[in-house]
């Protein structure tokens, strides 16, 4: 229960390959800062549910496709 939650994401892939967006553009559309997108891509920050949903909506994918629990 106390184990640290490790979340993997395919944010960089969906942002660059599927949507062709810059970090700045994605951040602006999702309502966060570029630094947060960079931190998410690096895996140094886990987003709130609200932010995860907003990013998924901007990229046109489901949250499940974008984020997953590390085994």
């Amino acid at each position: 229960m106390d184990e640290k939650l490790v979340i993997k994401n395919k944010l960089k892939y969906f942002r660059r390959v599927c949507s062709d967006l810059t970090q700045e553009e994605l951040a602006s559309a999702a309502g966060c800062t570029r630094q947060t997108i960079a931190a998410l891509e690096k895996g140094t920050y886990n987003p709130s549910l609200g932010l995860a949903l907003r990013i998924a909506r901007v990229l046109g994918v489901s949250v499940d496709e974008l984020f997953s629990l590390a085994e």
Partner: protein, 145 residues
């Protein structure tokens, strides 16, 4: 480097300057023993804090939300830094109070200047520890990966 990180760096530098001057004032010979009689030093320390809080207010205006956008990650880092700062401040006060007690245990009384020093340094340590913890969190976040 994000705007919030810059703000915390400037905030740390500002309160570090205040800390250095406070330590210099209090370590000058006779300050502790003659605190109540030395009007110049009490006014100097009060001015020092006016400088600290004014600088703080200016930083808040320069790095306001309108000029520097913030989001949930900034709030997360700020909350983490506040928790770290809280613990550091508690430990500092505990160690300082015990040290002063140990030093003056046989005298039966503590010079009032030490109470002023605890009060002033508490504010400084709280500010320094929170900004240092924020800078560390931002740095760690930027460094990994």
């Amino acid at each position: 480097m994000s705007g919030k990180m810059k703000q915390n760096i400037f905030h740390f530098i500002l309160w570090f300057i205040v800390a250095v001057v406070l330590v210099i004032v209090f370590s000058t010979e006779g300050t502790i023993a003659q605190w109540g009689d030395n009007r110049t030093k009490t006014v100097l320390v009060a001015s020092l804090f006016l400088f600290g809080f004014s600088g703080d207010a200016i930083l808040r205006i320069i790095f306001s939300k309108k000029r520097v956008p913030t989001d949930e990650r900034d709030k997360y880092i700020q909350n983490k830094a506040l928790a770290v700062g809280y613990v550091i401040t508690l430990i500092y006060i505990f160690i300082l109070a015990i040290s002063i007690y140990t030093k003056y245990e046989n005298n039966g009384m503590v010079p009032v200047a030490w109470i002023w020093f605890i009060a002033y340094s508490l504010v400084i340590i709280a500010n320094l520890s929170v900004s240092a913890a924020s800078v560390y969190q931002y740095w760690k976040s930027d460094l990994n990966g």
